[in-house]
């Protein structure tokens, strides 16, 4: 990716992206107005959120849910929508609902 805030003389012409996979370096987490939060204690690791996340922001290791990639997560809420595990009191929000819930993004 071209260096951040390149001037018009420095930027690649026509917006050509000359390195593959450079979208990983582009922070889209700043677009988020709602932030997903996860209840690790009650998660069954069913991976529905991993399957449905359109931005590959569910980080999984050895078949176990690890964390959200907040650098790229745009806060679309699909993970919270598809999460099938109900909780009576979420460990982060304290509210009833699902293992993944959406909260207001604090700027």
């Amino acid at each position: 990716m071209a260096k951040a805030n390149a001037t018009w003389k420095e930027a690649n012409i026509a917006g050509m992206v000359l390195e593959p996979g450079s979208a990983a370096e582009y922070e889209t987490g700043t677009w988020r107005v709602q932030r997903p939060v996860h209840d690790a204690g009650k998660c069954t690791h069913c991976m529905m959120c991993w399957v449905f996340c359109p931005d590959s922001c569910i980080i999984v290791k050895d078949g176990r849910w690890q964390e959200f990639d907040y650098f790229h997560c745009k806060g679309c809420g699909i993970c919270a929508s598809v999460c099938p595990v109900k909780v009576e009191a979420h460990e982060v929000t304290g509210k009833p609902g699902k293992v993944i819930q959406m909260t207001d993004e604090k700027k």
């Binding site: 001037t7 012409i13 026509a14 917006g15």
Partner: protein, 397 residues
């Protein structure tokens, strides 16, 4: 050593002949009158195995330019041709080709835009695309259409530019008129255009890259600034290539051709085939001692503002002949006039300028029409008073 042959060719066939000698990697085109003679002739060259070109017979001009863009992204040397409504249908892709900096070369055989339906010449088609980011070269004759097509490849592919080039000729008047054209030998043309190796291409699979990506408020502006910078460098490249073409083939080209301008007090500025009529009329007035000259504009984009202002400085009056209207502009003037007025104002040149709209939808412009222009120029030069900023030639009033 260039060996030229004089051949009787229609303007469109002269363009197709230049394309045959250039032998581009890909031609994607759709036939439309009066451009059909180019694509039809070229597809015959392909069918006969005279070229190596991959010819893509597309379903529309929108598809034609889209295929050209894809082929250019892949790294090919790409050409096409169109006219009028076909060019209008390419509208979206014209901008994309220029913005993606693909050196596509396209013949545009100027024809009036509908409606009412009309297949004959005016410049409303290419003038509608004047802000799309292409270089615009206009040709007076079949010879110039041939020469401009060859030079366009070198101009477009110049590493400082990487801009698409449109080569215009007047529909029917030039496109379908048989004239003598000096055709150079194939080897000399191939040597002049050289080979094309793009710095970046999608088929360079060892270096994967992305073209045409999402480009928001954080970079789009910088990329537009780069485009206008490239166009600002284009005139030097056009003149350099025109000089080299002159040294190689004996016909030199610049931003415009000046005729009788050395001691001129008045001038006519015009594009394409009408320059021939103007030259003939001016020759007659010159015999009578009337100091009138001709500036035949070859390059419309980038507009040679400084060069024209310098050429017209000190003159008493100039008439700009426009074969299209910029509807809703100052008094409904034509695009060449509007650009020229801006150029004169910016340079502080106070030469009086008036505009004549002529030849719309193929209406003949006759020597008598140009004589009227010269006579009115004389009145303007004498009085300094503009009787009418925008007038019409050959219109029933």
């Amino acid at each position: 050593m260039v060996v030229s042959t004089k051949r009787a060719l229609e303007g469109a066939h002269a363009s197709a002949e230049a394309m045959r000698q250039i032998n581009p990697d890909v031609v994607a085109a759709y036939p439309i009158t009066p451009q059909t003679a180019i694509v039809q002739t070229y597809s015959q060259y392909v069918a006969d195995g005279e070229v190596d070109t991959e010819f893509i017979a597309v379903e529309s001009e929108h598809a034609a330019m889209s295929a050209c863009i894809g082929a250019a992204a892949a790294g090919g040397r790409v050409m096409t041709a169109t006219a009028a409504n076909g060019l209008a249908l390419m509208w979206e892709e014209l901008y994309i080709a220029a913005s993606m900096r693909f050196p596509i070369v396209m013949s545009c055989v100027n024809r009036a835009l509908s409606a009412p339906l009309n297949i004959h010449c005016d410049h409303s088609d290419s003038m509608g695309a004047r802000d799309a980011g292409w270089i615009h070269l206009f040709s007076e004759t079949g010879q110039e259409a041939y020469d401009n097509t060859i030079q366009a490849v070198r101009i477009a592919e110049h590493p400082d530019l990487l801009l698409p080039v449109m080569v215009m000729q007047d529909g029917f008047i030039t496109g379908h008129a048989v004239e003598l054209v000096e055709v150079a030998d194939d080897a000399s043309v191939k040597h002049f255009v050289g080979s094309y190796t793009p710095q970046h291409s999608l088929l360079d699979i060892d270096h994967p890259k992305t073209f045409g990506a999402w480009d928001l408020y954080d970079y789009y502006f910088e990329h537009k600034r780069q485009q206008t910078d490239a166009l600002s460098k284009a005139m030097k490249v056009i003149v350099d290539v025109g000089d080299e073409f002159g040294r190689t083939f004996g016909r030199k080209y610049g931003a415009f051709e000046a005729y009788g301008m050395d001691d001129a007090e008045m001038a006519i500025v015009v594009l394409s085939s009408t320059a021939g009529t103007c030259r003939t009329v001016i020759k007659e007035f010159r015999k009578k001692g009337v100091k009138v000259g001709l500036l035949k504009l070859r390059v419309f984009r980038p507009f040679p503002a400084d060069e024209l202002a310098a050429a017209l400085q000190g003159l008493k009056a100039v008439a700009v002949l426009d074969r299209s209207i910029s509807f809703g502009s100052m008094q409904g003037a034509g695009p060449v006039f509007l650009e020229l007025c801006a150029a004169l104002y910016a340079a502080g040149v106070r030469t009086k300028a008036v505009n004549y709209i002529y030849g719309l939808g193929g209406r003949d412009v006759l020597p008598a029409d140009v004589e009227r222009v010269v006579q009115e120029l004389q009145q303007l030069a004498d009085t300094g008073k503009v009787a009418s900023l925008v007038s019409y030639l050959g219109l029933r009033e």
